[in-house]
Symmetry: C2
Subunit: 169 residues, 2 copies
DNA sequence: TGCCAACCGGGGCGTGCGTTCCGTATCGTC
DNA sequence: GACGATACGGAACGCACGCCCCGGTTGGCA
């Protein structure tokens, strides 16, 4: 790869990181190109499609989150709640995480699998109500993350959801 | 108004009711016109803008909901929960209610005012946690209603949110 | 029945977006 | 320093959508 090509690729990635975080997947690709100081054509030389660029940007961050979820814990309920809390914290600041669950990529499935596994363990330990499925929880979290981007108080919303998830006894 | 004009207006309203309920505000206006068996121009003869048509469709339903919220109750907590439950029930079947909170119309403000008043009463009675604002609650409900349209179990999601709203003692 | 106003349909305009194309500039090698 | 491959930029394309316009049609009153 030529030196200028590598330079431009890095500039595009950085601009995309910033703008996807600020505005989510909806941000026009031309805007990313402008911020990177290149033309739209250059973006497409490095990434075949807008989704591929989005995936390249969110990949490592989401992969890191999933990795932490894989470690076994002696308190499965706390592990799930910590994971959801981490998701919420990220979503409160960056708009791209909630899209990462929806936009069809490889990561989306891994993310869903990770949440499903954490949920199953927490339910087996009796820490979370048994009548909720992974699909329900993911939908709930997506809604929660969208709510956070509308001027609501993220911490309170997270507390409400976590409290509601606890198994009622 | 001429007879055929009234007939077409009614056909447009019915098509809009169906399609807004199925697909939300995002549905293309041309699709509504097609379902109604008229041209797009005819829609605009009766409604100056797409939002006006949306408002005409959702107006009475939302107004009815707001009316029930206005009645004073001896159990403010139950009143709020019943109202939120009614919202959730509607949203579980029709996609337009969650948009009605967001699309800028007259109703949106009334809706927000009604929720705010119900919430204040419920908080004064100690039934709902004091650290949540009307903005938070509306954002939460919007996220909840969006979650319901993704294959999740509406009843469980509502239970979780309502439980989380209760004041922890 | 005849006439005019009201109304209709659908083609068309402007806009915004993802994506592609191609003439030009730049890099790295001989 | 020159040359070929590589990469660049931005104009242009295709599409979808909200909205408008106009030639033709239809309804209802005299």
């Amino acid at each position: 790869m030529r030196a200028d090509a590598a330079r431009n690729r890095a500039k595009v990635l950085e601009a995309a990181r910033e703008l996807f975080a600020e505005q989510g997947f909806e941000v026009p690709l031309d805007e990313i190109a402008t911020r990177a100081g290149v033309g739209p054509g250059t973006v497409y030389r490095h990434f075949p499609t807008k989704q591929a660029l989005f995936q390249a940007v969110t990949e490592e961050r989401v992969a890191a989150m999933i990795a932490t979820a894989g470690e076994p814990s002696d308190d499965p309920g706390a592990a799930l709640f910590a994971f959801l809390g981490r998701m919420a914290d990220e979503a409160a600041v960056k708009r791209d995480l909630s899209d990462a669950i929806t936009v069809p990529t490889e990561l989306r499935k891994s993310m869903q699998a990770a949440i499903g596994s954490l949920l199953a363990d927490a339910q087996a330990a009796g820490a979370v109500r048994a009548d909720i499925t992974a699909v329900d929880l993911i939908a709930l979290m997506k809604g929660l993350m969208q709510s956070m981007q509308e001027g609501a108080n993220p911490a309170v919303l997270l507390e409400i959801v976590l409290k509601g998830l606890q198994s009622s006894r």
